[in-house]
C-alpha cells in the first residue's frame, strides 16, 4: 500500500512515518501555484540526508519538483556528516532524524553543520535539554547525546553539532499521567559575535519574572569564542521548567534586529509561563514525538496526559492512522473540572527494530 498525500505541509513527519512503516510514499501538488513551484532546497536537503542515513531508499523527484516518490530502504545509521542549507537550521533536520535513529542498524553518529539556533525550528539547546530526555521513558537513553561543538547564528551559520543515538530493539510502553508540580527552572543564554554582556542582561530580565515562583533557578551563560562562535552575530535564551514527575516545558526566544536583549528574554519567559499554564506531562512542541513512540510501543495500552493537540498534531494523528492503522482515544482528563487537558491513549503496535544487527 502506498501512502499518498498532497501539498508541502507536514513533509517531515510524513517521510518519517513512511520509512518506519516501510510503506512507499507519494507526495504531489508541492506548491504547484507558487511563483517558485516545487520543493525548497531544505526539503531536497532532507531527502539527501535520508538517503545518507538509510540504505536502499529510492527517491524520485518529478521534473518540476512538485511531486516525489520515496520507497523506503532500511535505516542504516553509522557515522554520517551533512552540511545543512542556510535556509533552515539544524533543528529542522534533527527533529525527523531523532524519530528514525533509534531504529537503525548501527548506532547513528551524525555530524550536522549550519545554523544552530533560529526562530523557526527547535534550537540545539532545546533538543539537547528537552527533546532527547523525552526518549528516556521509552527506554532510549544510554549514550544518547547532542554535542554542540560550534554555534552558528543566521544568516551564515557556521555551527556544528554531533548527534549520537543508541539503537533499541523495542520501545517501552508509556504511562505518564501525573504532571506534578514545577520544581526547578533551567536556562541557557548564549551570545555569539556580540557583547558577552547580552547573556547576562537576558538572564537578569528572565530572573526578574521567574524568581517569584521557586528558588531553584539556574540560568547559565554559555560562552563560545572565536572559531566556535560561527560566522554571524546573534544571541538567544532557552528556558526549561521541570516538574516533580520530570515533565518538561520549554520555550525560547532568539535575537531580532532592533530589539533589546531584555525584551528577548521577556518573550522567552512569558512563552515559558504560557507553556506551564497549558500544563500536561509533555509540552506542545513534543506532542508528535511522544505520540509516535507511543504508537511504536509494545502491545499494551500507552497513556499520556497533554494539552490540546496543535494543528500539526491533529494532522500527525491522522497520518499515523494511515501508516500504522492505529488511532488514539482522546478524552478529557477529568469531566468535572474545567481543565482543558486531555488523556491520550493507544494500543502500541509492538514495533520491532528489524534493521538492528544481531550481536
Amino acid at each position: 500500500m502506498t501512502l499518498h498525500y498532497s501539498g508541502h505541509l507536514y513533509f517531515r513527519h510524513r517521510l518519517v512515518l513512511a520509512i518506519l512503516s516501510g510503506k512507499p510514499i507519494k507526495i504531489d501538488k508541492i506548491r504547484p501555484g507558487d511563483k517558485n513551484p516545487g520543493l525548497r532546497d531544505y526539503e531536497v536537503g532532507l531527502l539527501r540526508l535520508i538517503e545518507k542515513v538509510t540504505n536502499g531508499t529510492v527517491i524520485e523527484i518529478s521534473l518540476t519538483g512538485t511531486a516525489i516518490l520515496l520507497k523506503p530502504g532500511i535505516i542504516s545509521g553509522g557515522p554520517v556528516a551533512y552540511e545543512c542549507p542556510s535556509s533552515r537550521s539544524v533543528g529542522y533536520f534533527l527533529e525527523p532524524i531523532i524519530m528514525l535513529a533509534p531504529f537503525s542498524k548501527k548506532p547513528l553518529a551524525l555530524t550536522l553543520r549550519g545554523i544552530t539556533t533560529d526562530d523557526k525550528d527547535l534550537s540545539v539547546d532545546l533538543i539537547r535539554t528537552v527533546t532527547l530526555p523525552h526518549l528516556e521513558p521509552f527506554g532510549i537513553s544510554d549514550k544518547l547525546e547532542l554535542k554542540i561543538k560550534k554555534r552558528g547564528s543566521p544568516p551564515l551559520g557556521g555551527g556544528e553539532v554531533l548527534f549520537l543515538c543508541p539503537i533499541v530493539k523495542q520501545v517501552k510502553t508509556l504511562n505518564f499521567v501525573d504532571p506534578g508540580k514545577i520544581k526547578r527552572i533551567r536556562g541557557i543564554a548564549h551570545a555569539v559575535r556580540v557583547s558577552p554582556q547580552f547573556s547576562n542582561r537576558m538572564i537578569e530580565a528572565a530572573r526578574s519574572v521567574l524568581n517569584r515562583y521557586i528558588p531553584d533557578i539556574y540560568l547559565y551563560s554559555d560562552v563560545y569564542k572565536g572559531e566556535e562562535s560561527g560566522k554571524s552575530p546573534g544571541y538567544a535564551l532557552s528556558l526549561v521548567a521541570e516538574s516533580t514527575t520530570s515533565a518538561l516545558h520549554c520555550a525560547e526566544a532568539v535575537s531580532q534586529p532592533g530589539i533589546a536583549p531584555e525584551d528577548i528574554a521577556l518573550h522567552a519567559t512569558r512563552s515559558l509561563l504560557t507553556e506551564v499554564e497549558r500544563g500536561g506531562c509533555v509540552d506542545q512542541k513534543h506532542q508528535s514525538l511522544v505520540l509516535l513512540m507511543m504508537v511504536l510501543g509494545s502491545e499494551d495500552v500507552g497513556r499520556c496526559r497533554m494539552a490540546e493537540p496543535t494543528e500539526r498534531t491533529v494532522q500527525f494523528l491522522r497520518d499515523v492512522r494511515d501508516a500504522f492503522g492505529t488511532s488514539f482515544k482522546i478524552v478529557p482528563v477529568d469531566t468535572s473540572d474545567q481543565s482543558p487537558q486531555l488523556l491520550y491513549s493507544c494500543y502500541g503496535v509492538g514495533y520491532v527494530n528489524t534493521n538492528r544487527t544481531l550481536a
Partner: protein
C-alpha cells in the same frame, strides 16, 4: 450573541471525533466549528458573485513546516500583570495546592 459564544466555548470538543471522523482541516478544527460554518456561508455568497472569482488558496502556501509555533504577542502581553503571574503559582511546588 455573547452567551452563545460562551456556551460554544464551554462545550468540550470531541477530539477523537474531530480528528478521525471529520473532514475538517486541522486549522478549521482549531478555529472551531462556529467559524467553519461561517466560512461555508461565505463560500455560498461567492458562488453568486461576479464572473471572475479568486482562485481558492488554502492560505498555507507560506506556512512552513515548523515545530516551534509562534506565540501571538497578545497572548504574551497578559503576563505583564501581577494578577496573571500569581494565577499560576499553584503549578509550582512552592505554591498552595489548588484544592
Amino acid at each position: 450573541v455573547n452567551a452563545f459564544k460562551l456556551a460554544q466555548r464551554n462545550k468540550r470538543k470531541d477530539w477523537t471525533k474531530l480528528i478521525y471522523y471529520s473532514a475538517l482541516s486541522p486549522r478549521q478544527i482549531m478555529q472551531g466549528e462556529l467559524n467553519a460554518s461561517d466560512r461555508k456561508k461565505d463560500e455560498e455568497k461567492d458562488d453568486n458573485d461576479d464572473f471572475f472569482t479568486l482562485k481558492a488558496t488554502d492560505g498555507d502556501v507560506d506556512s512552513l513546516d515548523t515545530t516551534k509555533e509562534k506565540c501571538p504577542p497578545n497572548q504574551l502581553a497578559k503576563w505583564a500583570t501581577e494578577e496573571t503571574l500569581d494565577s499560576i503559582r499553584h503549578l509550582f511546588i512552592t505554591g498552595l495546592s489548588d484544592t
